[in-house]
């Protein structure tokens, strides 16, 4: 069971056609997820982390979005070779998702229990009655008081945190092997954030569900994840186990991110660091490293050629896409 790779993404490319040109939202992204582990994907908004994960289940709307290359290998099979119908049977049953904004992600005109029950009826063939009972049970499990009555409510009658709990109940209803949580706490109050994260953590641990946690919040990553991928401009710029990332970031962008977090252990005198500049426009990306215009350590080569992912210390799961490591590699 240990170290069993359950999901592998290889060379994923996703683009969007807009009036101004083609946006390369995901550009040659690869990573893998192990059973029972939690993988964090971190990046600013627009870095391509959500699109990456929507691409896994082919939930990119065409038009305008389109997956142009890559493989998603789930339990040894490339899902991109499957038919739409086959992928559909995976959704919600084997791989399910939680989205950022629980208000817009729940259907406003359908009762809460019914939205939870749908997947149960579909994937487990439950009758309406069974599914309702199970839904209420799930609502209790995630801590909704008066679940029997609340089941007949509509989403707008719930608070934000409650709604996200409903989303979680919905996602976990069929005991999926993988849960993709797309910024599940961004829209919530800080106090509620912790509760929700705790809930995800407990539930996934209980059922040894693998989790992909998409977030821009390094605190969440530190709390939840076993390993991390950092995305920038549609690419993975650094990947590492959780401790390595925090203690020895290898990419200037990651370092920038870490420096921008206020930390108690840092001496009072040091300034809070921010990354200057803005993320690049993903249309017509210039050659070279996309981070180069904002990078304090930029070199000549950085504006000419895009860096490949360099393996750090011989550990294939520890990489950084930065020319700085080319030198180190050469020297080493």
């Amino acid at each position: 069971m240990n170290n069993e790779t359950i999901l592998q993404v290889q060379g994923l490319m996703t683009e969007f056609r807009t009036e101004r040109g083609i946006v390369n939202a995901v550009n040659d992204v690869s990573f893998s997820l192990e059973r029972g582990k939690t993988l964090g994907i971190v990046g600013e908004s627009g870095s391509g982390k959500s699109v990456t994960n929507l691409s896994i289940l082919k939930l990119i709307q065409y038009p305008p979005g389109r997956i142009t290359a890559g493989q998603v290998i789930f339990k040894g099979e490339n899902m991109f070779e499957w038919s739409e119908e086959e992928i559909r049977t995976v959704r919600g049953k084997h791989i399910s998702m939680i989205f950022q904004d629980p208000l817009t992600s729940l259907n406003p005109v359908i009762k809460v229990w019914y939205q939870i029950a749908e997947a149960l009826r579909l994937h487990h063939g439950m009758s309406k009655k069974e599914a309702k009972a199970k839904s209420i049970e799930l609502l209790k499990l995630i801590g909704i008081p008066d679940a029997e009555q609340r089941a007949d409510n509509y989403p707008h009658q719930f608070s934000g945190g409650m709604r996200q709990r409903v989303m979680i109940a919905m996602a976990l209803s069929c005991d999926p092997e993988i849960l993709i949580a797309d910024e599940p706490t961004t829209a919530l109050d800080v106090t509620i954030q912790a509760q929700i994260l705790e809930l995800i953590k407990n539930l996934s641990r209980e059922k040894s569900t693998s989790v992909i946690m998409i977030t821009h919040d390094l605190g969440v990553v530190a709390d939840m994840c076993d390993s991390v991928c950092v995305m920038y401009a549609g690419r993975i710029v650094e990947r590492a186990a959780i401790d390595d990332l925090f203690y020895a970031p290898q990419h200037p962008y990651t370092r920038g991110l870490l420096d921008s977090i206020p930390r108690i252990d840092r001496a009072g005198g040091s300034r809070l660091h921010t990354i200057s500049g803005a993320p690049p426009n993903l249309i017509d990306i210039p050659p070279g490293c996309p981070f180069q215009p904002r990078c304090e350590k930029a070199m000549n080569i950085c504006s000419k050629q895009s860096p490949p992912e360099f393996i750090i210390n011989g550990d294939a799961s520890r990489t950084a896409a930065c020319w700085l490591h080319a030198k180190e590699y050469n020297n080493g």
Partner: protein
């Protein structure tokens, strides 16, 4: 909700008062009087006959006095007598009402049956050739003059017995089959235009809804495409369609004049038209009042249906 309905019905009062005022004085601004129409061009009347006739036709008093008298009468539920036929106004109107309501209902049903599926199909293939064709087709439906279409229908289908009403209106409760058969073409002539409107609203609303996060959620649950589209999307997309349907229903009640004329259907619109031609003031006044009331009531029903379809709306909160 009860309080809401009462409040809405109370708001009817100033509207009806305004309508009554306008209609009463407006009809009397039209040149010619009911008495003149009655006599026509072939009849001679002696002066003493004219005196008597003027009294009968209510031309012996100033208009404001007549208005107050009439207002008093209708508040007591007395709509008076037709100047043209001498019959009581209210029963005459009530006997037309079922047809007008039925015609409205049937046209709307046809419009929804045609418009919603086309709108959905069109939205699912936005900007495809099929979308383009069906949009143009829909707009074409909207561009057809109703009476032209109706006249063409009479021309083509009149050779089939029983398909065109020909003044032989059969009530739904007497013979539903015959009734539906007869109202099919008139309803279609009216419904095609509205089908286009419904289609347009459905399409636009579906396009909007299909971009929503909850549709993505539904897909992520692994739901099959039909249940995503016809359940999750349509349930939301139908909301603006309800509004526009209700609005058109209100509009249609008195607006089928031309169709009633071509198909010789005894509805409210035709009653009003003939009353205007004949300067039959009591009838015109009453018809317009009834239509205005229906208009408001239909709008109220629409709002209630809307509230039923959208759980987020709570009527008591609606401020108007």
């Amino acid at each position: 909700m009860g309080r809401y309905v009462v409040r809405r019905l109370l708001s009817l009062i100033p509207v009806l008062f305004g309508v009554s005022l306008i209609v009463f004085f407006l009809v009397r601004l039209i040149p010619g009087t009911a008495l003149e129409m009655y006599l026509g061009t072939q009849v001679e009347a002696t002066p003493e006959q004219m005196e008597e006739l003027k009294r009968i036709f209510g031309e012996d008093k100033p208009v404001p006095i007549l208005y107050l008298e009439w207002l008093g009468d209708i508040l007591r539920g007395d709509f008076g007598y037709s100047l043209r036929t001498g019959r009581m106004v209210l029963p005459d109107i009530l006997s037309r009402l079922p047809l007008s309501l039925e015609l409205t209902l049937f046209s709307l049903i046809l419009a929804l049956l045609i418009g919603i599926p086309l709108g959905i199909a069109s939205s699912l293939r936005q900007n495809s050739f099929g979308d383009f064709v069906s949009r143009i087709g829909g707009l074409l439906g909207l561009s057809l003059p109703q009476f032209w279409l109706a006249a063409l229908m009479v021309m083509v289908f009149s050779r089939f017995r029983g398909w065109i009403p020909m003044g032989n209106y059969v009530s739904f409760f007497d013979s539903p089959l015959q009734n539906i058969k007869m109202l099919f073409f008139p309803s279609l002539a009216i419904g095609i235009g509205f089908a286009a409107v419904v289609m347009r609203y459905t399409r636009n609303s579906m396009l909007e809804v299909l971009q929503m996060d909850y549709i993505r959620t539904a897909k992520a649950k692994g739901l099959k495409k039909p249940s995503v589209i016809y359940f999750h999307a349509l349930k939301n997309a139908i909301l603006p369609v309800i509004t526009v349907t209700g609005f058109n229903a209100g509009y249609l009640l008195g607006g089928a004049i031309v169709i009633e004329e071509v198909f010789a259907l005894p509805g409210m619109g035709r009653l009003a038209l003939y009353a205007i031609y004949q300067r039959d003031y009591p009838i015109i006044q009453a018809v317009v009042m009834v239509i205005a009331t229906l208009f408001v009531v239909v709008n109220l029903i629409t709002d209630l249906v809307y509230a039923l379809a959208d759980p987020r709306i709570r009527l008591d909160d609606v401020v108007r």
